[in-house]
């Protein structure tokens, strides 16, 4: 058995989710060869990619990055962060980069940083579409030119290759746009010759921090050691441990098939994979393989503005109104529609908590037994003013609507706040979630920045 090993520290599930300092120190004491972190996800929905904003908080992103950069730079351990700013498009990358540069100034750090953009131009996507090099993922509408034109940011989920290019260029800090989560962890050990399957599977587990430990946490660190034929997972807090089951169970998380996990350029095949408890909270994984696909496909993501949202939140405690809530809301909807006519465009949605606010029409419980209901009145219109109008008129109509059998004639709604209506701003919808074939997986722009004592040179 070879003694060769490569050690990886994952501080947290998503940059900005935080981690206990003690766990991080424990990880650093284990002499990692890499500190890596995934900084984003599409889970928080389409708003963030489209609007160019981060779903993570700046103060905490800075807090997490400060620990990582200070320790990484001082100890000569490379730091890799992918899906900068939560969605990884140009504004997200610039946002995260400015935080890194601020930390470098404050901490007087010197390093070489590789900044990788993963944005794909509309022109490139259109050319790929015309050339038959775009594939829809299951249940995703067919891509058309209109969706491409309407998406302000289109990103490709890049694989290991662009990160490896930056690392090979001497960057000890790598910040990437949208990136396949496991690649942040796998790019460097693969470069060092460790097996791709093991490296990517290790990355798949470590990208969620300690979520795959038990008890799981998205705000704690995890550690992995890769050998030529296996990797070993361990938690860094005495409160947690990895078990055979916790590690295996994580393979199910957010994926449609736990045996075959597709990614850029290939898939991780876990059909021959074994998980073994080593005791002391450590789990050994063997047999993970990587299979390359004949052509290299990356996932594209895009979202577009579809309107503006306004909201009002109120409670209902009257038992007659609670019982008849559906016909009451339908009557109010019709009355508002009749009054607003064609002058106020938009759609109204009632989210009725206590009845079917969570599952909507899919709710299996048909008989409501709650003594009170929470209602969110939502309007989505082409303009903010129209959404405001729709919510305002719906709120006032519902407040005083005289439904059959009403005995509570002073008002139908309990508002917890004044103002009762909230402008929620732009609404985005996913517009692109497709695979695109690329010829050069490393062909994403790399900018190498030399930071000397906090200043760019």
């Amino acid at each position: 058995m070879s003694a060769r090993e490569f050690r990886v520290l994952s501080p947290t599930a998503i940059l900005g989710y935080g981690f206990p300092e003690e766990s991080f120190r424990n990880g650093v004491a284990k002499k990692p060869d890499l500190i890596a972190c995934d900084a984003g996800s599409t889970d928080p929905g389409p708003y963030y990619l489209g609007s160019g904003k981060s779903f993570t908080d700046r103060a905490f992103v800075k807090r997490d990055l400060t620990f990582m950069l200070v320790e990484g730079v001082r100890r000569g351990v490379p730091v890799v962060v992918g899906t900068a700013g939560g969605s990884g498009a140009a504004p997200h990358l610039a946002w995260c980069r400015s935080i890194i540069e601020e930390i470098a100034r404050e901490q007087n750090l010197s390093f070489t940083m590789g900044v990788i953009a993963s944005d794909v131009s509309k022109q490139t996507v259109k050319a790929a579409l015309a050339a038959g090099r775009i594939q829809a993922l299951p249940f995703v509408p067919t891509l058309d030119g209109k969706a491409i034109d309407e998406s302000p940011h289109i990103v490709a989920q890049i694989g290991c290759e662009p990160l490896q290019k930056a690392l090979a260029a001497g960057c000890n800090v790598v910040l990437a746009g949208r990136c396949y989560d496991p690649a942040n962890f796998a790019a460097l050990p693969i470069m060092k010759g460790f097996p791709e399957g093991l490296c990517l599977h290790m990355g798949k587990i470590l990208e969620c921090g300690a979520i795959a430990a038990t008890p799981g946490s998205g705000a704690d660190c995890a550690f992995a050691t890769i050998f030529d034929d296996r990797f070993v997972l361990e938690a860094l807090s005495p409160k947690r441990r990895f078990t055979r089951e916790s590690a295996a169970a994580h393979t199910l998380y957010e994926k449609s098939d736990p045996y075959r996990l597709p990614g850029p350029g290939g898939l991780i095949d876990l059909t021959g994979c074994s998980f073994t408890d080593l005791g002391e909270g450590r789990v050994e994984v063997r047999g993970s393989r990587h299979e390359k696909t004949p052509a290299y496909w990356v996932k594209l993501e895009g979202s577009r503005r579809i309107g503006s949202r306004s909201l009002s939140i109120a409670g209902v405690r009257d038992p007659i109104m609670v019982r008849d809530i559906e016909p009451v809301l339908e009557a109010v909807r019709q009355q508002v529609r009749a009054m607003a006519g064609n002058t106020v465009a938009g759609e109204l949605y009632f989210h009725v908590y206590g009845k079917n606010g969570v599952m909507g029409p899919g709710e299996p419980v048909r008989i409501t037994t709650s003594h009170e209901l929470g209602i969110v009145i939502e309007a989505i219109s082409p303009t903010q003013e129209q959404a405001d109008t729709l919510v305002s008129v719906t709120r006032s109509t519902l407040l005083h609507y005289g439904y059959p059998g009403r005995i509570s004639t002073a008002g139908n709604l309990a508002f917890p706040f004044s103002p009762s209506d909230i402008r929620a701003g732009d609404v985005y919808g996913f517009s692109i979630y497709h695979l695109m074939q690329v010829d050069d997986p490393a062909g994403f722009p790399l900018e190498v920045v030399h930071v000397r004592n906090g200043a760019k040179s």
Binding site: G45, P46, T251, E254, S256, M359, Y428, F430
Partner: protein, 107 residues
């Protein structure tokens, strides 16, 4: 006698698998109940179709995963994550219909 899935499963959960899919996981307490559910095909396309009111063509797959005594079903989201009318952006609270699953077992 009739038993509830809650008697034999330690995890029952839902989550997005990308913005267009919802993935449902059941992890059983032990291999015995994993095998019982698998061999009797208690969690089937028909059952998922009925519980989630989706056509069987909207079920991407049902996979039995032995390493953690689990079964996973992936279905089409009713509405893409975050699209108008969505009620659960992360898809993390869509597991309730699975809680009603019952099965026959001696003892």
């Amino acid at each position: 006698m009739k038993k509830s899935i809650l008697d034999v499963a330690r995890v029952i959960r839902s989550k997005n698998s990308g913005p267009y899919e919802l993935t449902l996981d059941v992890m059983f307490n032990d291999r015995k109940h994993y095998e019982l559910f698998r061999d009797r095909a208690i969690i089937s396309r028909d059952l998922i179709s009925r519980l989630y009111n989706v056509d069987t063509s909207e079920i991407l797959g049902i996979v039995w995963f032995e390493p953690c005594n689990a079964v996973k079903a992936t279905i089409r989201r009713r509405i893409a994550s975050g699209a108008p009318g969505d009620t659960d952006i992360y898809g993390a609270q869509q597991h309730a219909p699975l809680l009603s699953i019952e099965f026959e077992e001696e003892g």
